[in-house]
């Protein structure tokens, strides 16, 4: 299980950024994704420290579930707090994290996490589309939301519309093809994070 998770979080060295109102572009990945525990044994959790950052990385994305459990644990609090204060810690949400249940933590996180990520355990699992949409709509999250995991070329457009603005594509995906996905359509028929549906946008 955890090994699968490790594998699925592997990604290209380059991140595809597509800021709202901007143009898609590739950039060096400055964030290391920590998949979490190597085994599921809960009682080891308290003794487990997140890894040191790889050379060249600016910060660490930790599992949201881990943040919930350990942010205030006595052993790591000081260390994590200092990293968080330095803008070196973000969280990633698993597909089954119910973010609405932890609204207060996420509200507080808005001032702490430089970015968040949402994980796709498999490309055809659409839960993370709703997670991203809720982060934008409900929490008014204005920072970066990154898609991680099984992120494929043909999800990019949907992801970009629900609220993702950066993508850590699976290593086998062709980045040149990926970059071309965002201007396939010049019209839309429902609102999205990026803009209003064409008919409304044109008539207002």
């Amino acid at each position: 299980m955890s090994q699968d998770r490790l594998n699925t979080i592997a990604s290209h060295q380059k991140i595809l950024h597509f800021p709202k109102g901007g143009k898609p572009a590739l950039a060096h990945n400055e964030w290391q994704v920590w998949p979490g525990h190597q085994n599921n044994s809960e009682d080891e959790g308290g003794n487990f420290s997140p890894p040191d950052l790889d050379h060249g990385k600016k910060g660490l994305l930790v599992p949201f579930a881990w943040w919930l459990n350990h942010m205030h644990s006595h052993q790591h609090e000081a260390d994590i707090q200092s990293k968080a204060k330095a803008g070196q810690i973000g969280v990633w949400f698993a597909a089954d994290d119910d973010i609405l249940k932890h609204a207060d933590i996420i509200e507080a996180g808005k001032t702490v996490w430089p970015l968040v990520a949402v994980h796709f355990p498999i490309f055809r699992d659409g839960r993370s589309f709703s997670t991203a949409a809720l982060l934008r709509d409900r929490f008014a999250w204005t920072g970066e939301i990154r898609a991680i995991g099984d992120v494929l070329i043909d999800q990019l457009l949907q992801g970009a519309r629900v609220g993702f603005d950066s993508f850590a594509l699976r290593p086998d995906q062709n980045l040149d093809v990926a970059l071309k996905q965002f201007d396939l359509y010049s019209v839309t028929t429902q609102n999205s994070w990026r803009g209003k549906r064409t008919f409304i946008a044109e008539t207002v």
Binding site: R127, F129, L184, Y185
Partner: protein, 575 residues
Amino acid sequence: MYKYDAIDQTLVDQRVAQFRDQVARRIDGTLAEEEFRPLRLQNGLYHQRHAYMLRVAIPYGLFSAKQLRTMALISETYDRGYGHFTTRQNIQYNWVTLEDTPDILAELAKVEMHAIQTSGNCIRNITSDAFAGVAADECVDPRPICELLRQWSTLHPEFAHLPRKFKFAVNGAKEDRTVLLCHDVGIELKKNLNVNNGELTADIYAGGGMGRTPILGSLIKQGLPWNMLPSYLTALLRVYNRFGRRDNLYKARIKILVKALGPEEFARQVEGEWAHIKNGEDNFTQAEWDRVAKHFTKPDYKNLPALTTEQVIASATHADAATQTGFTRWLERNVKPHQVPGYASVILSLKPHGTVAPGDASTAQMLAIADLSDQYSFGELRATHEQNLVLADVEQAKLYELWQEAKKQKVALPNIGLLTDIIACPGGDFCSLANAKSLPIAKAIQERFDDLDYLFDLGDISLNISGCINSCGHHHVGNIGVLGVDKDGEEWYQITLGGEQGNDTSIGKVIGPSFYADEIPDVITNVINTYVNERAEDESFISTYRRLGVTPFKEAAYKDKSENAQKKDKAGVDA
């Protein structure tokens, strides 16, 4: 009917280009089959037993003569000279190649058609009443809402990868002709002076479906103002997308979530989500309504006197007795009342006895039917969920003429609503999901009951056949349902009785162990004989069934089996 504007046309053209690129990547190997599969399904392309099958949307069943000619052209150029009209108002081509599909889609786009979301785990083609806008019992014309929802759901990014497929049906008539309660979401449109100032509202039913676990939808919302459908449906789909099961394919439909939570709790969660977005900008505007509704005005009806049936029959007075009988029968079964005096709606039967699969039309038939619609019905047609076609606006005075033309095309059999008007999926002859064949069963039953006098005497009976539990043939809601099952690699058929569509929608009950294919005509005969023996005067099959319960029908169905078993036992003793 609806006409694309620049937005709609651009979208379908760009969808063709996107799919063309996806197909090219599949062919050059950079896109693996496992990852291409959901992409092709979201564009209606299945990989079947022999070839690819392309399912093309006929949104809410409405199409034009021009579109039908393109469907015919596609059947001739890219398929084997026919198309199959489905139970969800789509048309399927069974013999296409992957390489050709982008070109087929480009042909379709030229006549404002597409295959978007006719499959896959997304919001599917929206179905409605085939008699929308013309039915005598209509309260609200559902077509503008259907079209608004078609556009809203098209390429919806958040709901592109739901736990499972998601089907909407929309009804606005007194009699439900959409099997509303067997849909993931059923939308019942109403106008009531006491609700929403007499403006259009919707009642929402959720969690219905057929398949392995047939369940009728539950009413979860009443009196929703029409313009708030997008925000409410977003809330509903968001709850399903987040919490519908993804661990088990057979438990992933919304019906399982609604059942697990209970309809009240599901409705509460949807309300909770909706509260945050109900006043947002997702909702439809009046300008959007106007943009769409202007296309659903009434055609240029003439001022005609309403004719009685006797007056219509009188148009055949010069014909011989057999012809007059044939025409009268056709009027009785295939012609439906209309909102406008002097007009009627005509159902063209795609259920000839034993010659072609239910719902199939050949290239030549499609071209001829397109001409008939131009000549008799303002160039418009509808596809019914029973897999027949409708000319909705025919002058009563021209019914006799039309009947004679329809007979030439072999689409005038007066069997609408009768035992041989069988709903059937393509089954194991084509579909790779099927456990058993459907078409030979349909053929055998149609051949067995080929006597129109007898069929008329039996009256309204629905017989629906599905080749597997996915229930594309809607066997659960047939008065008699036949389901193909696999037992140790052999094809068997399970019988259900007592299903019903319409306002008393019911799920049929399985009567017992399944039968071999060659036993089915006898089983049906025994069930029908029981009805004939037991019915009160003018009592329909379903009423008789409801009065007597399953037992006498079940005993009759297994009569031959027990006789055979006794013979075998006896043979054993003698030996």
